[in-house]
Amino acid sequence: MAAPLGGRGASMTRAVITVVGKDSVGIIAKVCTYLAENQINILDISQTIVQEFFNMMMIVDMTKSSKPFDTINTELSAIGEATGVQIKIQLEDIFDKMHRI
């Protein structure tokens, strides 16, 4: 089996999920259900609505995730398309590197 996240060790792998799009009922519920089904733990959620546009960010722990990163990425995008929003998942490291000294 291909090791998730390019053979990262046993340390905690955190990712950032962003959901951007027109606000509609049940967006968070759908994403959370999906994450629960795949043993991805939510550590933090924040959201805001700017001019009817829904911006949400979740920080999640993927250490126990049952699927490789790529699969989760594809499946989350598909959920986004079905709901009319854009869903992205990215490793948290990249934001840390960019915004923290």
Partner: protein
């Protein structure tokens, strides 16, 4: 913990401002592939490249998907091939066979360019260097992904004017060999002074002899991001015009963020491929995409078009701030590191040429203060080889005296003249043919010999 606005800022940079990592370049030493037999040499080269770089493209794409930032190019640089082929190449055609092998290896591993079809002749040319140089026009015509570079001078050695003169002829010959495709061969050929050993950017990339067996170098980019923050800066400034202190501070902070992305990608690529990390090249490299332009930054800083008085100062400032922000973000900075000012690859530069704001002479002045030289400039196909050699000599002198890298990647487009445009396609873009000073440099470049190293190079 990271907050929402920081996440949105990063994603806006990618989605709207063309932030990307321009290239992961794997440097590979081919010194151990040299053999007396040409076929054996080719076999060893093919095997070494396809073994070491087999996962390069996949790994690059994997990292890109995981961080949500495009990594545009995956490339390879190799030991200057004149060193590798010196024992087995007897005629220029032998080098062409190596070029074809390299092209095949590049296609096999899926990289879009492989650089290092090169010779370092800053002080003198060996027989093998000269054979390689003479093989360049054919080699570039019959391969797709090979880039060639020749280092003709350095601050320590002076300028090898015999090589400069020869390169005038070779550039013309390369243009002639590829005249069916707008002399495209010349877009893959660069003449350098003070070439760095670890440059990840094409066409001047090669893996110098001072390097390890294999290494990962990363070139970052992001002119669109700098452009955006400068626009915002002026919007928020009193009177709509921020002062130089604010301007420099803003560029520096942005360069820091961009470079950190490169640093992360380099470390991850290095870890996953099991190959040591070399350097980050902190360059603002434009592409033909709208908004991804160094010219637009210069306009944002305040000149109507690049070429207007003030342009050189604006570019000097930009280059310096990019470095200052970048060095803090990465422990190992190298390569070219600065702003690139290619004409055909930057829509703002093309516009400036078309409205008559930017000339070859002004571009030459700009190369005194930025990281490269006269880059991707199309000139009339009937420009004499001696004039091209004169242009190379001028650029080399700027590099030699100022202890910096300079380069000439100039394309005499056969059959075209001032007023025509030429289309190279893809990242190479398109360019209007620029006029060249028509007075002769023949007696100067025909003298032969070397220009001695400048006085300030004697530091021992």
């Amino acid at each position: 913990m990271i907050n929402l606005s920081e996440v949105l800022e990063t994603n806006r940079m990618v989605e709207q401002e063309n932030l990307d990592v321009r290239t992961i370049t794997m440097g590979i030493s081919l010194l151990d592939c040299a053999d007396k037999d040409l076929n054996v040499t080719c076999e060893k080269i093919y095997k070494k490249i396809t073994t070491l770089a087999k996962d390069l493209v996949n790994t690059g794409e994997e990292i890109s998907r995981e961080i949500g930032i495009p990594i545009v190019n995956k490339r390879i640089s190799i030991t200057p091939i004149s060193l590798v082929g010196s024992a087995c190449c007897r005629i220029p055609g032998d080098y062409v066979q190596i070029a074809k092998t390299l092209d095949k290896a590049a296609k096999e591993v899926g990289v879009n360019f492989l650089g290092g079809y090169s010779a370092i002749v800053s002080k003198g040319m060996t027989k093998s260097d000269e054979l390689l140089i003479r093989s360049i026009p054919k080699a570039l015509a019959c391969t797709e992904r090979i880039c060639s570079s020749i280092n003709v001078g350095s601050t320590k050695t002076g300028i090898n004017m015999d090589a400069v003169r020869l390169m005038g002829d070779i550039i013309k010959a390369a243009a002639e060999e590829t005249k069916e495709v707008d002399s495209l061969g010349c877009a893959k050929l660069v003449v350098l002074c003070n070439a760095p050993d670890d440059n990840p950017f094409m066409a001047g990339a090669f893996h110098g002899v001072s390097e390890a067996d294999a290494i990962i170098n990363v070139g970052v980019s992001g002119p669109g991001v700098v452009n955006y923050v400068l626009q915002q800066m002026d919007k928020n400034a009193e009177g709509g015009l921020a002062n130089f202190e604010t301007l420099c501070e803003t560029i520096k902070k942005t360069a820091f963020k961009i470079t950190r992305v490169g640093q992360y990608v380099a470390q991850e690529a290095s870890r996953r491929l099991g190959i040591p990390f070399g350097i980050i090249d902190l360059s603002l490299a434009p592409t033909p995409a709208i908004g991804d332009s160094v010219a637009d930054i210069l306009k944002c800083i305040g000149v109507e078009h690049p070429g207007a008085p003030g342009t050189t100062a604006a570019l000097a400032l930009l280059n310096d701030q990019v470095k200052k922000g970048g060095v803090m973000a990465s422990s190992y900075v190298g390569g070219l590191s600065g702003a690139f000012i290619p004409v055909s690859e930057d829509q703002g530069m093309i516009d400036a040429v078309e409205v008559g704001a930017l000339t070859l002479e002004k571009l030459e002045a700009m190369t005194c203060v930025c990281s490269v030289g006269l880059d991707m400039i199309a000139i009339p196909g009937d420009t004499p080889a001696t004039t091209i050699a004169g242009i190379i000599a001028d650029e080399s002198a700027i590099g030699m005296i100022n202890q910096k890298t300079t380069a000439v990647r100039i394309i005499p487009v056969i059959g075209k003249n001032v007023g025509d445009t030429v289309e190279f396609g893809g990242l190479l873009g398109y360019a209007p043919i620029m006029p060249v000073n028509t007075f002769s440099s023949q007696r100067f470049v025909d003298r032969g010999g070397r220009i001695p190293a400048p006085i300030h190079s004697f530091k021992n």
